[in-house]
């Protein structure tokens, strides 16, 4: 069963095309990671799916209905990217306020306990630390016993320990049959939680695959050297010539260097660097689309 769906969805802000013909399906029981650099369009996609914005073209569906219809949102819980809590309200009051919108909310103490917030129930949210606010904001997504939670960069600004506490809560929810869509720009976070990864860059879906498949792609390294003419080498996914330097992108840099040496070709200034997520994906996708355009 599909809980959330985007069908050829585009979203434009003035001159900027934030999303370009995006398709996405989140099925019941999945834990899907939306991975991509800042400004890739992750939050825009999430805002469309939870009904905060309307697509410029295309269709979004939530539980088979329009996300802008309150009834379609009855079984979701959301943590937006920005943590904005009413500063004068106490932690417990904020939980009660959100609970009032759902027919069968999780009791306040149980929820606060689960997210390690019990001690803070009487504190005004304005006095919490950034990490405590973030944990509360994530906890609020779970108040209404949702079937789907949508978390936009849930662990931004958290220290390692708080991040792991949160990951545990997300895993427990998923183990109980819950469905999760979470965005992140950390590969580590998506690896730790998700089974399926959707990579977004420049408003498009660049990859939609298992974590392992995506890790293999992201594990691409850049081998740079100066040489006059190279033989064709196995395992090179892309070759670039910039200012007399040759850049080779490969999934196995060790083997490539061995091959280079055994080929006997003259080269200087060998350098091996990891590629950033963005670089890896953009390189590979543009290479697929237009192999001759190496700059």
């Amino acid at each position: 069963m599909t809980l959330a769906r985007a069908d050829r969805v585009s979203r434009r802000y003035g001159d900027v095309l934030a999303l370009d013909q995006v398709d996405l399906e989140v099925r019941a029981g999945e834990l899907v990671g939306l991975l991509g650099p800042n400004g890739a369009g992750k939050s825009t996609l999430i805002n469309l799916l939870v009904g905060l914005r309307r697509p410029t073209s295309g269709r979004v569906e939530l539980f088979g209905g329009d996300p802008r219809d309150p009834a379609s949102r009855r079984q979701i819980g959301v943590t937006p990217q920005e943590t904005g809590l009413p500063g004068t309200l106490r932690v417990g009051e904020v939980v009660d306020f959100v609970s009032a919108h759902y027919p069968d909310p999780i009791p306040r103490n149980e929820l606060l306990d689960q997210f390690g917030l019990s001690e803070l129930a009487r504190r005004q949210t304005g006095g919490l630390s950034g990490g405590q606010k973030r944990r509360l904001a994530v906890a609020l997504a779970f108040v209404g016993r949702p079937r789907l939670v949508v978390l936009d960069e849930p662990t931004t600004g958290l220290d390692v320990e708080a991040r792991h506490t949160l990951w545990e809560a997300i895993r427990a929810f998923h183990a109980d049959g819950g469905t999760v869509l979470l965005s992140s720009h950390y590969l580590e976070e998506v690896e730790a939680l998700a089974q399926r990864v959707v990579v977004i860059g420049q408003g498009r879906v660049l990859a939609d695959d298992s974590v392992d498949a995506v890790r293999a792609v992201v594990g691409v390294r850049r081998v740079s050297l100066t040489a006059d003419g190279l033989p064709s080498l196995p395992g090179v996914v892309r070759t670039e010539q910039v200012d007399g330097r040759t850049h080779l992108l490969t999934a196995d840099a060790d083997q490539l260097v061995r091959d280079l040496v055994t080929s006997g070709v003259e080269f200087r200034d060998l350098e091996v660097r990891p590629t950033s997520l963005e670089e890896a994906f953009l390189a590979i996708t543009t290479a697929d689309a237009q192999p001759a355009a190496a700059a």
């Binding site: 905060l52 914005r53 309150p70 004068t88």
Partner: protein, 245 residues
């Protein structure tokens, strides 16, 4: 409905946690009572009653313009506002809650004026007239609520504070709230009927004593209502379109 009450409750909680917000809207009318009404009209039961009604109108106006104008503008800047839109409820409960909370603040801000009138002046009112005045307060809140909402939805909060301050005094003075019925300076008498404050205060005067509201003031109050409702609706939709389209 239940949800509207919940929203009203938490909005009130938020306001009450910063008591100066309520104090602010109650201060001006209470101070005006002490400095102008008590010494100059306090001994005359009729004049004191009318003057108190004027200050009540003043208080209703400032409480509404400030609590909606500044409150809405500030809320719009908080990420909490979009979060509440992901909850399974439409905009109606939040909006109804806001109006209920605003009305409650309005009544609270009237307490000092009424207490001063009852204890320090000869102002007198029958229980029936008092009830009628309470209802009239809700009625005359409507145009000022709409004015506050227009300001709050149309402007960012820093601008909203300034505009709220800029409109409230000319409206009070120009509408003749600071003088007894029929005894305002000439130019005020001339422009007053065209301001929403005039129709509002004439309704209050009619509620508390023998006063026949002028037809022109009431017609203009109706015109203001339509204008402000249109302006508020426009500002709300424009804001929605800008932030949530």
């Amino acid at each position: 409905m239940q949800l509207a009450l919940t929203h009203a409750r938490y909005q009130l909680l938020e306001t009450i946690r910063i008591p100066i917000a309520i104090f602010g809207s109650a201060f001006f009318p209470a101070a005006a009572m002490l400095f102008f009404v008590v010494p100059f009209a306090g001994k005359d039961p009729v004049a004191a009653t009318f003057a108190t009604a004027s200050m009540v109108t003043f208080s209703v106006m400032s409480a509404n313009i400030f609590s909606y104008g500044v409150g809405v503008a500030e809320d719009r800047q908080q990420p909490w506002d979009p979060f509440t839109r992901t909850l399974p409820a439409g905009p109606a409960p939040r909006f109804a809650g806001r109006v209920l909370a605003g009305l409650t603040i309005t009544y609270l801000s009237l307490i000092p004026v009424v207490v001063i009138a009852a204890t320090l002046t000869e102002a007198r009112i029958t229980p029936m007239a008092f009830l009628l005045a309470l209802v009239t307060v809700a009625v005359i809140s409507v145009p000022f609520t709409l004015m506050g909402l227009s300001i709050g939805y149309a402007l960012p909060s820093k601008a909203a504070i300034v505009v709220a301050q800029l409109v409230f005094f000319p409206l009070a003075f120009g509408g003749g709230l600071l003088s007894a019925p029929g005894s305002a300076p000439g130019f005020v008498e001339a422009i007053a009927p065209y301001l929403p404050t005039r129709g509002a205060v004439e309704l209050m005067w009619a509620a508390v004593g023998h006063y026949e509201p002028a037809r022109l003031s009431l017609i203009m109050l109706g015109v203001w209502l339509v204008l402000l409702a249109a302006l508020g609706g426009w500002a709300y939709r424009r804001d929605e379109g800008r932030r949530f389209s």
